[in-house]
Amino acid sequence: MKHPNQEKPQKSIEKRTHLQNPHRHVIKDLVWFSLIATFFKLLLIPAYHSTDFEVHRNWLALTHTLPLSQWYTDETSPWTLDYPPFFAYFERFLALFASLVDPTITDLYNGLNYKAPSVIIFQRLSVIASDTTLIYSVYKLTKNMEQKKRFLIWILVVWSPGLLIVDHVHFQYNGFLLGILLISLGALQNGNDLFGGFVFAVLLCFKHLFAVAGPVYFVYLFRHYCRGGIVKGFGKLVTMGTVVVGVFMAAYGPFAYYGQIQEVLRRMFPFGRGLCHAYWAPNFWVFYILADKALASVLSKLGFHIQPPTASFTGGLVGDSSPFAILPTITPSVTFAIVLLAISPCLVKAWRNPDPKMIVRQVAYAYMCGFLFGWHVHEKASLHFLIPLAVVAVESIEDARHYFILSIVSVYSLFPLLYEAQEYPIKVTLLLLHVALMWFGFSESGPVSNNGGLVNRWIVKMYLVGFVVVEAWGQFLHPLVFGDRLPFLPLMMISCYCALGMMYSWIWQLRCIVRSP
């Protein structure tokens, strides 16, 4: 009896706020939610941070002390500036405050490997503050959705364990950059193509790794924005071109003025780094390397003489020499071609039917291809498609099921980043909480209720249980069985096992895009 009475005043209040500003309660709720996340991020300040922390500190120092013409030539620290100019400007902007907080932070020489609380708190706070773009982009994307879906997307994006692990423990600015990407995608979804293209150009000048989705953007904008006859279309093409060129001029112009373009480009594309990172990202090349090893061992058992490769993948040091015994060596141009080939179905679709509803999936798919087949891919790059896909994960049960698996895979593949014991419970609890939130969230928000549940096939169940086995092996059984020997084996298992899930997700996304109208 009591309930209807209680609900009435609430509804009337909602109505009233609806008249003032339709999205006022959305803003209020989002601010509430992101503040809780922010306060939690504050707690992570003393956690382990990787060398990326010193990388960014050095960038603060060098952009603060050196003139612009020397930014990309300075070699005081091994952590040279290798992001595009906008990121350098961003560091220059942060350095304004850093030098006020503690001048040592921005000291090029005395600041090397500086570990005082001031620098740790300042840099961590800068990451937390720059996440505002992510929160703003999520607001833009979700303001017209129903409440439950909206909340779920906030949980998946703002409370993403991947971002918490990579940004707020390991230390990077992915939340900020992905926020810019999502702002761009949100603009495209709303049909605001010019702004979307502009923001994407800005993003490219922040971090060039995002260029993988460039072809998709180009085709989509060419077909969707530059429509309406040859004259009008050409006019729009020129407008878009001017905007993009303008952005690039703003970024690279000053460096071109000082004749630094060559240095900038050389820093941004260091192809001497090798096919795989020290820890293999869970992508296609994992299988390629394994196949090579397997073939080599089989052939040598059959009596063939196999020249052992001069460079080894398991040693962590990867040079220019060929690490393969049997299979052909992979060069950057080969990976480039494969990535383009993998993206091409999506380009064809975007050409035939540039649909704003599909753009998020298509961009995420492009990043997926870049991740699977790219050159020297980091495991962190999985965030580039994980975060955008969160936006479409609530659309149907298939999306929810796919996202459930994909996010577990990619968060788990980030585990080796935090290798110290202190952060172990943090990463495990983060993943468990994420799984619980997805589990209850997807079943709350509708699509899963009566279709066999979120995990409907036995093979998926087995695969998910397998993560527990892989983790248990790496943490407990491996040290018991092998002791200190073969330290690379658990990591290899993680990347192989995650690569399976990634390949599945790639095929799923590809199918989804090909089948779309």
């Binding site: 504050l42 707690l43 956690a47 419970p425 609890t429």
Partner: protein, 516 residues
């Protein structure tokens, strides 16, 4: 008689079915799982921060005390744990908690000994500080919290839901209020203590009281008492409620003796190694009552410390007479609440009774720490669903009263973060149960008062951090914080006593019927 028994059995069965349904039903398990995972995460994150006395020889802090107990208990025979011997210098963090704490230290000490033997080796590990040692110690608290406090809270929530005390949709909020209490997390996982065990056992006892299982309740509460003697803050409430209930039964004497057997049995079990001789028992007892440490420690927001600004109690009276005075005042102040419980015991007033008796101990008993505010805070958090504002107000000032301590421990950052998380979860959209609006004229006065005090406490935080106190009064700011907190605690205590009185006046008949 027979009929009543049958209905009772049926009722119990319905209760069990309800409990099971609640556990399997998503409306309780989903929020509980999510909130508790978040609460674990927050605890782990807080444990990254420094502990009390980190890198501060020669005496370090509570972290070293706990580590030292693990060292003593794993290396010496049970009988020597509380004895001042050449191997066990009681002046250096001697065990001063009841045997259950010693056993817990022993178990945790074994874990440490297995993984990191040098952190608990006799003599050589004094002041041991290492990355792995800190981590293992932190994980002992975390696991105790997970194994005792969390299940107890789940049980409590199920019991609450069973009582159909309304607000089913508020379960998540209520669980969050209990599990994310910033004071408890900061003291256990930041400062370093094991309050989660004794408080968890108490929560378990409260849950069993709500489920009508009085014998289990007295067992659990005896365990809590044997983990930390401070649990005695709740003793008057448990005692008077259970006594009142027994008196309502057909055969009061039998019921009381049943409870007595359970309590004495539990105590005998825990104290077994020391029951061989009177001397051993007295040795332990003398460790538990550290009267030589004075009336109060530091600047605790209780009656004695606050009034000592005007009346120098420590100079006016001897320790002996102070002890008696404390006892007298404590008993007097919890008598009204006890009387109400004995006259008309009901589960609803029982929770207020817990709060009131904990308050009277906090205000008036001998040797109170600022950390003891956790004890009245626990029943307040259980009552959060009925008194959301009181709980928030109390938590705010409880945190403030511990601010100087936490600053010394370098826990300012988690202090800010946990306060923020707490406040925002408190104001969750659709989270907080609605409270009836007070009259308009009154509400304006109170809202002014609330805003003013919140502003004042904010300013006090800033002043404490930024301004050096005058040389003549080095503890001026601590004293001001203490005065402010005490005034608010006293107001809350007066209100909760009044509320208990109102509630027990309203429903004495109903509760009698229920018990018949």
């Amino acid at each position: 008689m027979k009929k009543s028994r049958v209905t009772k059995v049926v009722k119990v069965e319905i209760n069990n079915i309800n409990a099971r349904r609640w556990l399997t039903h998503t409306s309780i398990s989903a929020p509980f799982i999510c909130v508790s995972l978040f609460a674990i995460l927050v605890r782990v994150a807080v444990s990254l921060h420094p502990y009390s006395g980190a890198g501060d020889p020669p005496k370090y802090g509570d972290f070293e005390a706990q580590r030292h107990w693990m060292e003593i208990t794993t290396n010496l025979p049970v009988k020597e744990w509380y004895q001042n011997t050449t191997k066990n210098d009681l002046r250096y963090w001697g065990l001063d908690y009841p045997p259950l704490t010693a056993y817990q230290s022993y178990v945790h000490g074994l874990v440490l000994k297995f993984f990191h033997p040098e952190s608990v080796s006799l003599y050589t590990s004094l002041g041991h500080e290492s990355y792995f040692g800190k981590l293992l110690m932190r994980w002992t608290v975390l696991s105790s919290d997970l194994l005792i406090f969390f299940p107890a809270v789940l049980w409590l929530i199920v019991a609450f839901a069973d009582q159909s005390r309304g607000h089913k949709s508020k379960t998540a909020w209520h669980v969050a209020m209990i599990l994310l209490n910033p004071c408890l997390i900061l003291i256990d996982h930041g400062h370093f203590q094991f309050n989660c065990i004794s408080l968890g056992l108490t929560v378990g006892a409260i849950a069993t009281v709500l489920c009508d299982k009085d014998l289990v309740a007295s067992f659990l509460f005896s365990l809590a008492l044997n983990h930390k003697q401070m649990s005695a803050y709740y003793a008057p409430a448990f005692f008077s409620y259970l006594l009142g209930k027994c008196l309502k039964r057909r055969n009061p004497f039998l019921e009381v003796s049943k409870l007595g057997v359970i309590v004495i049995g539990t105590f005998a079990l825990v104290w077994w190694p020391y029951l061989r001789s009177r001397v051993a028992v007295l040795e332990v007892l003398s460790r538990l009552a550290p009267f030589e440490r004075g009336l109060y420690e530091d600047y605790v927001a209780n009656f004695w410390c606050t009034t000592s600004v005007l009346i120098k109690w420590k100079l006016l009276f001897t320790t002996q007479s102070l002890k008696l005075l404390c006892l007298f005042m404590t008993v007097c102040s919890c008598l009204p609440s006890m009387f109400l419980q004995i006259r008309a015991p009901s589960t609803r007033t029982f929770l207020y009774g817990l709060l009131n008796s904990a308050f009277s101990f906090y205000f008036f008993s001998f040797q109170v720490h600022e950390k003891s505010v956790l004890l009245p805070l626990l029943p307040a958090s259980v009552l959060a669903i009925e008194e959301p504002f009181i709980f928030q107000w109390f938590t705010h000032f409880a945190l403030l009263s511990m601010f100087p301590l936490l600053c010394r421990d370098k826990l300012l950052l988690p202090y800010i973060a946990l306060y923020g998380i707490f406040i925002f979860i408190y104001y969750a959209p659709n989270g907080k149960p609605d409270t009836p609006n007070p009259p308009r004229s009154w509400s304006r006065v109170t809202s002014f008062y609330v805003v003013f005090l919140l502003f004042l406490s904010f300013v006090l935080h800033i002043i404490y951090l930024a301004v050096d106190p005058p040389k003549k009064y080095p503890f001026l700011f601590e004293a001001i914080i203490m005065l402010l907190c005490f005034s608010q605690f006293a107001l809350v205590a007066v209100y909760t006593n009044w509320k208990q009185w109102i509630l027990s006046r309203k429903s004495p008949v109903g509760s009698e019927k229920k018990l018949a």
